[in-house]
C-alpha cells in the first residue's frame, strides 16, 4: 500500500500496519481487511483529490475546508454522526451538490489532476467518470432489469458494440448476474431491496466510471443484502476508486482501506481525522474520533 498517498492534518504517510494495538473487534476486522488488500492492489491512475472544499446551503455553512485524497484503487469510508456533512461532501465530488437550489461551494476537486469545477468544463463528462449509488435503491420504474443496466448508454449517449456482453459484465461485477440472468426482461420493481441496490450499482458501472461514490448504500437493506453489497465493493475496489458514506462502523472496518471521520460541533462539518482504517479504529489520534468509534457518542 506504499503507493497510496493522501493528505491529512499531519501530512504524514500513514500506510504502516499498526503494531501495538489494543485488540478490539473493529480494528481486528480492519486489520484483516488491510492484509487482504495489500496483495492485490495495483496502482490505477491518480484518483480523486479534494482540496479545501467548503459547502453552503443558502447561508448555512455545512462543510468547512475538507481536503482528502482518494487514491486510485482504494476504498475510503466517510464516517461521522448525522448532519456532519458527509453526504454533502460526497455530493460535491461529482457536482451533484449544485442540483439543490441556493447552494454554493468553494475549493477544488481534482480528477486526474484536473479541477472538475473549472469553468467551461463539461459537467456531464465529469459525472460519467464519477458514478454514484444512492441511499435508497432507485431503479428506473419504467424499465426492465436489462434496460436499467444499459440506461446509462442512452442517457449519456454512448455507443457500445456489444451491449449483451456489457450487460453480463456489469451484472456479474455487481454480483447480480446469476440471480437475474433468466429474467432480464422483467420489471426492476419485482426485485428485492438488496437486488435493486445491486442493480443500481450495475447501472452505475455500465458507463465505466473511474470513481464510484456510494452514499449510505446499505442503510435501507437487511444484513444479508448488506453482506452481498460489501462483497461487491471488495470486488470492485480492484479496478476502481470507491468512496462510501456509512453510519455502520463495522461496515467501514470491513470494506475500507481508509477512513475519514467527519464531525460538526454545531457549526460547519469538518473532517477531524483520516488514516488507514485499522488505525482509525485501533489508535485514532484525535480524542473525538476515539469517542465516536468506541461508541461513546454519536
Amino acid at each position: 500500500m506504499s503507493q497510496v498517498n493522501y493528505t491529512n492534518q499531519n501530512g504524514k504517510l500513514m500506510s504502516d500496519q499498526p503494531k501495538n494495538t489494543t485488540p478490539s473487534s473493529l480494528s481486528d476486522v480492519a486489520s484483516k481487511r488491510a492484509e487482504s488488500k495489500v496483495a492485490g492492489t495495483q496502482p490505477l491512475g491518480t484518483g480523486l483529490e479534494a482540496r479545501g472544499v467548503h459547502a453552503w446551503f443558502d447561508k448555512h455553512h455545512a462543510l468547512e475546508d475538507v481536503s482528502l485524497d482518494f487514491s486510485a484503487g482504494t476504498v475510503t469510508a466517510l464516517i461521522g454522526p448525522s448532519g456532519c456533512g458527509k453526504s454533502t461532501f460526497i455530493r460535491t465530488l461529482n457536482r451533484m451538490h449544485e442540483f439543490i437550489p441556493h447552494t454554493s461551494m468553494a475549493g477544488q476537486v481534482l480528477l486526474d489532476g484536473k479541477d472538475i469545477y473549472e469553468s467551461g468544463i463539461d459537467v456531464t463528462k465529469i459525472r460519467l467518470q464519477i458514478g454514484m449509488v444512492f441511499q435508497k435503491p432507485n431503479p428506473f420504474p419504467s424499465m426492465t432489469i436489462g434496460e436499467n443496466v444499459l440506461s446509462g448508454l442512452k442517457l449519456a449517449q454512448l455507443k457500445v458494440d456489444n451491449q449483451e456482453d456489457l450487460l453480463e459484465e456489469c451484472l456479474t461485477r455487481a454480483g447480480l448476474w446469476t440471480e437475474v440472468k433468466d429474467r432480464l426482461g422483467a420489471h426492476a420493481g419485482g426485485l428485492s431491496g438488496g437486488q435493486q441496490q445491486r442493480l443500481c450499482i450495475a447501472r452505475a458501472l455500465a458507463v465505466k466510471p473511474k470513481v464510484l461514490l456510494m452514499d449510505e448504500p446499505c442503510s435501507a437493506l437487511d444484513p444479508g443484502s448488506t453482506l452481498r453489497i460489501e462483497e461487491t465493493i471488495s470486488q470492485l475496489s480492484k479496478s476502481m476508486t470507491i468512496v462510501i458514506v456509512t453510519h455502520n462502523m463495522q461496515q467501514a472496518a470491513r470494506v475500507s482501506d481508509y477512513t475519514a471521520f467527519f464531525l460538526s460541533d454545531g457549526g460547519p462539518g469538518q473532517m477531524i481525522e483520516v488514516g488507514p482504517t485499522n488505525e482509525i479504529f485501533s489508535r485514532p489520534r484525535d480524542e473525538r474520533t476515539e469517542n465516536y468509534v468506541t461508541g461513546r457518542f454519536g
Partner: protein, 348 residues
C-alpha cells in the same frame, strides 16, 4: 397441527348486541321519520331522507352516549356527517346516470348511430334520422383539442416542475387563473379574436381551439402534480450517469410519470367533452357530415342535445336524452381505451 385447534377470533368486531343496537337505532329513526311525515304537512322523498338522518343523528347519539360519553358522541357524529356527504354525492351521480340511461335508452336504435339529421326534422318520430354526424364531429373536436393541448400542457408542466425557470411563478399563476375561465368566455375569445378579425369562419378547428383554452389548465395542473410525485432520486440517478437534463426528463421522468400523464389527458377530455357554450360561437350547428375540420359548421353531440331540448316536441326531447347517453358512452369508451393502452405499453 396446532393451528387447526386454535379458533380464529375477532375480539374487536361488533358483537351481536352491538349490531342489534345499530339496527335498532336505524329502525327507530326510520319509524320516527315516517311518523313525523304523517303528522306534519311535510311531504316527499326528501322529507323522509332529511328526517331520517336527523332522527338517526339523535337516536344513535343517545345509544352511543351510554357507552362512549361525550367523546364517543362527537366521534360518531363526525363519522355520520361524512357518511351523509358521501351518500349525497352518490345520490347525485346515480340519479344523473339513472335519468340519462332510463330516458335515453328508449331512443337508441341502429338508425340513431348510423345516420344523420339531414332528412329528418325535429318532429319526425324516433327511428328516422340519427346523430352519427354529431358523434364524428365531437370526436373530431376532441382530437383537435387533445393534439394541441396535451403537448402544450405537458410541456408547461415540465417547465414548472423540471426547469423551474424565472417565469415559473408567473406561469403558475396564469395557469391557475385560466382554469377559472368560464367556458362561454373561451368561445367568445376565439370568436372575437379570430372570426371577427380574419377570413376564417366557424369550423371544427376553431372549436378545438376554444376547447384547448379550457383543457390546457386541467392538463397542466394534473401533469404537474404527477411529475412532482416522481422521486427526486430518479432524476439524480439519471444526472449522476452523465445525462443532460433533457435526456433525464425524456428517458426517466416522463416514462415514470406515464400513467399519470394519461390520467391528465383523460381529465382534460372529461373537462371539454360536454362543453356546449363555446361551440355555439365557433363551430355552429350542422345536420349532416362535414369531414373538413377547417371549413364549415360541424354537428356535435352537445349542440344536438341543446337543440333537441329547445325543440320542445316529445321526439326532439327524446333525441336529446339519447344523445346525452351516447356522449356518456363515447367518453367512457375513450377512457377505457386510454387506460388499457397506457397500462399495456408500460407493462411490455
Amino acid at each position: 397441527m396446532t393451528t387447526s385447534t386454535v379458533q380464529k377470533m375477532r375480539p374487536w368486531a361488533a358483537t351481536p348486541k352491538d349490531r342489534f343496537i345499530t339496527g335498532l337505532s336505524v329502525f327507530i329513526s326510520a319509524a320516527l321519520s315516517v311518523l313525523i311525515v304523517a303528522a306534519t304537512p311535510m311531504k316527499g322523498k326528501l322529507a323522509y331522507f332529511g328526517l331520517f338522518f336527523l332522527a338517526w343523528f339523535i337516536v344513535d347519539s343517545i345509544f352511543v352516549a351510554r357507552r362512549g360519553g361525550a367523546k364517543g358522541v362527537r366521534d360518531g357524529l363526525a363519522a355520520k356527517v361524512t357518511l351523509l356527504g358521501g351518500i349525497i354525492v352518490c345520490m347525485v351521480v346515480f340519479s344523473i346516470l339513472w335519468a340519462t340511461i332510463s330516458r335515453g335508452l328508449k331512443g337508441l336504435n341502429l338508425e340513431f348511430f348510423t345516420s344523420n339529421m339531414r332528412n329528418a326534422s325535429l318532429f319526425d318520430p324516433i327511428g328516422k334520422g340519427g346523430i352519427l354526424h354529431a358523434i364524428l364531429g365531437t370526436l373530431m373536436l376532441i382530437t383537435i383539442a387533445v393534439v394541441i393541448s396535451v403537448p402544450m400542457g405537458i410541456l408547461t408542466a415540465l417547465y414548472l416542475t423540471e426547469i423551474k425557470g424565472k417565469a415559473a411563478p408567473l406561469i403558475q399563476f396564469l395557469v391557475q387563473a385560466m382554469s377559472g375561465v368560464p367556458s362561454v368566455v373561451a368561445g367568445l375569445f376565439i370568436y372575437a379574436a379570430i372570426i371577427l378579425n380574419t377570413p376564417l369562419r366557424s369550423s371544427a378547428f376553431l372549436g378545438g381551439l376554444a376547447l384547448t383554452i379550457l383543457m390546457v389548465p386541467t392538463v397542466t395542473r394534473t401533469a404537474q402534480e404527477v411529475l412532482n410525485l416522481v422521486p427526486r432520486d430518479l432524476r439524480e440517478a439519471g444526472l449522476a450517469m452523465g445525462a443532460t437534463q433533457w435526456k433525464t426528463v425524456a428517458l426517466v421522468v416522463v416514462p415514470a410519470a406515464r400513467s399519470g400523464l394519461i390520467t391528465a389527458t383523460i381529465l382534460g377530455v372529461a373537462r371539454i367533452a360536454g362543453e356546449t357554450a363555446p361551440l355555439l360561437f365557433t363551430v355552429g350547428v350542422f345536420d349532416s357530415y362535414n369531414f373538413n375540420p377547417f371549413k364549415g359548421d360541424q354537428g356535435t353531440i352537445p349542440t344536438v342535445v341543446w337543440r333537441g331540448l329547445l325543440g320542445g316536441t316529445p321526439e326532439s326531447i327524446q333525441r336529446a336524452w339519447s344523445a346525452i347517453l351516447v356522449l356518456l358512452i363515447v367518453v367512457l369508451i375513450m377512457f377505457v381505451a386510454a387506460r388499457t393502452l397506457g397500462s399495456r405499453s408500460s407493462k411490455n
